[in-house]
Symmetry: C2
Subunit: 322 residues, 2 copies
């Protein structure tokens, strides 16, 4: 219709500089009139790129929906990808079936790369990406024993440590912790930070109770902490949601926050502002986490060389619970 060859049309569509202004005009108006849209499959076939990346969450959907962290990360990843005009495919991979389906999806070259979130120890996903050389970026450092894929992480250790130091500065001396799942890097790193923060004080075994990042889990853990350590005067929780649960348990036991027991959470989710009293917490730059993951992945997808790891800082947000 524009009276030019397919090659020229292709050049115009892809913004090649070597097209005469006249031809460009002609093609563009023809495109508009025809409502022409390039066929992605055909394009993918020749370019070997699909302009699609996957965001994979290895958690049951219940966690996904209760954990405020995911909402933020999904939003920021989606926004960042939108800027690059790349489509996001969102995949749940918590069951073996889901993982198998996703693996087929990858082998089918449906995606240019993947963002992997919340990996547990023994998760087979990193191995797959490492083997197939399909670009992938982890959110959070790889679990022990996992293939060493590039990752973006927040300084969980430093963040947890700052929480404990804050508690110490406020004069607390019997500081317990409710940890995250111990088969995840986040869970371990925050526990390490807690131990490091305590320093010469050293933690007693009975001050450390494992949690599972849920509110109910936090409540149970706090109850146990209260039984094991009646004199406890502060607790560092590895997530805000668990901190809320801990505050429930504290209220049920008749302990005042922060007078009797100070509480510090982790995440600085929306939740934290609305608890009574408002929750002191460790803010992690979740939006930046998503953004950096995308940047790194896109660099890799384009064949570039990115850093093997990116570490983002945390900030302690002091509110009334401590």
């Amino acid at each position: 219709m524009a009276g030019v060859s397919r090659a020229t049309v292709s050049r115009v569509i892809n913004g090649s500089p070597s097209v005469s202004p006249g031809a460009r005009q002609l093609v563009q108006s023809a495109v508009r009139q025809l409502g022409y849209v390039p066929n992605t499959a055909a394009r993918a076939l020749v370019t070997q790129r699909t302009n699609t990346v996957a965001l994979v969450v290895s958690e049951p959907s219940s966690r996904l929906f209760t954990e405020p962290f995911y909402e933020t990360i999904i939003r920021s990843v989606d926004a960042e990808l939108a800027d690059a005009d790349i489509q996001l495919v969102f995949a749940l991979a918590s069951t073996p079936q889901e993982r198998a389906r996703f693996e087929r999806f990858c082998s089918g070259r449906h995606i240019d790369g993947a963002l992997l979130l919340s990996l547990h120890e023994g998760d087979p996903l990193p191995e797959i990406f490492s083997r197939t050389r399909l670009p992938a970026v982890l959110g959070g450092r790889p679990p022990n024993g996992s293939a060493p894929l590039p990752y973006v992480d927040v300084e969980n250790r430093a963040g947890a440590r700052s929480a404990v130091e804050h508690l110490l500065a406020r004069g607390r001396r019997c500081i317990g912790t409710i940890t995250g799942p111990t088969d995840t890097p986040v869970g371990n790193d925050r526990l390490d930070g807690y131990l490091a923060g305590l320093g010469p004080l050293r933690a007693r075994q009975s001050l450390v109770v494992p949690g599972d990042f849920t509110r109910a889990g936090g409540e149970r853990a706090m109850t146990r902490l209260l039984e094991q350590e009646p004199d406890i005067d502060a607790v560092f929780c590895a997530s805000d949601l668990m901190a809320v649960g801990a505050m429930d348990a504290l209220a049920a036991a008749g302990r005042r926050v922060p007078d009797d027991v100070a509480v510090v959470g982790y995440d600085d989710s929306n939740l934290a502002r609305y608890t009574v009293p408002p929750l002191t917490t460790v803010r992690q730059p979740t939006r930046e986490l998503g953004r950096e993951m995308v940047r790194l992945l896109l660099t890799l997808v384009r064949g570039g060389d990115g850093p093997r790891q990116v570490l983002l800082p945390t900030t302690l947000i002091a509110r009334q619970s401590s």
Copy 2:
């Protein structure tokens, strides 16, 4: 490697019956040894099918993550699609930019069809699918003035009506309602059901307060209801989350549930079992909703003729809040 033609390989891969057992064996073992996986782009190019469908949510992600409904629907859609070995692409389309990107995605023939959730009045999506003839199924009836795409819905009117009738049967006479957003079919239908349930009693304007499906919105609405109608003895909330908010407001005002004011919610989400007292609510078959949407869409994608609408029944679940 198997010593046969590409066509035969293709037949084996696609399970054509007209392949000799010998050739099939040969091909299959070659496939295994080579780790061969068909290239989806090439296949899509010739078959005009991508084996991918999109689930589109026209809501800000905040709603998506706070509304338990979405978690269930996403799970059931994902599971149902997995059975058919079709990949789910999850897309947020709440901002004009997101919608534009999604539109490009569709025109690029990236997907075989789409599932559209929670449409508001004036949403441009249905029009696009109607025009491009790309198969689409709505979750919930189309908003007024929208293109008439096939849909799966629950009997919102009947459900709301049954809630009000239940309240009447318990002797309540001054029954208010907290509605959903009035630019959504669900919001309107549940309001209609409320009005119908009241029957000859007729509702006063001041008994109807608009909500937004959030907990905070429910709380605000209940507070207003209490001001406008101090004698109110029951409230029907268009969602469980709003009912929880209403119960917060009731507690703050010193009204007992159900003694002073009976509360009925809608959804029968997990929430409802754990409120104090447990919440009477209208159960909608969310899993079936997802399943039926997928079935209908797949029929359409395969060129079949499906029903224009599917309506699923609701059940009243009586608990202690009424």
